[in-house]
Symmetry: C2
Subunit: 115 residues, 2 copies
């Protein structure tokens, strides 16, 4: 069975993770609706906020919807805005900071593979 | 190695597939840049255009960025707009039609799994 949802209908949950600031997550598509290979999440990071600097096995594919971000990828940093796509390989160190004056909004898909 | 690209830098390729009309694809993230589990594509469907009515093993996760679409999923049809997320399971019949007056733009991730 397929599944359709508008993001406005999906609860924004505050991300309670060490090293994370002023960030909300919406799980739009995941295992609960039948996705077997990867999940789609929508993040909102408030101005001055950031996701944790971390690494993990699941691959990320990110698409910036709104706002301005500084992306840490390994030892490098890149400024991105709406329309940028970002691929983060398995186990690569990464972090996303809102460096703009408005909420930063992006989609972040994550693979269910484990390493 | 990670990878970052702005969608404007990625060529829009016309989709030459039977049953497809006035549709362009941009491959934003795929195996060529290291993605092992799923790919990210950005579609532009002109007013009156549509993707083919078909089914295939790879799972889809879609996010509507702009415009108005009619989505066929199995035997049902749903109207969607910017902010809608759509999950299409492996081998489910599907089609996306632009039913608005402006270009329909959406992201479509596809898993590399085969059934």
């Amino acid at each position: 069975m397929g599944y359709i949802v508008h993001q406005r209908k999906v609860k924004k949950e505050f991300v309670h993770v060490e090293g994370c600031k002023d960030t909300y997550i919406q799980w739009l598509i995941d295992e609960k609706v039948g996705a077997k290979n990867f999940a789609m999440r929508r993040f909102t990071v408030m101005p001055g906020g950031y996701t944790p600097l971390h690494r993990h096995p699941g691959e990320h594919e990110i698409y910036i919807l709104r706002g301005k971000a500084l992306v840490r990828l390994g030892d490098e940093e890149y400024e991105v805005r709406a329309g940028h796509a970002i691929f983060i390989p398995s186990n690569e160190l990464h972090q996303i900071k809102n460096v703009g004056d408005t909420p930063l909004i992006f989609l972040c898909m994550i693979g269910y593979e484990r390493g």
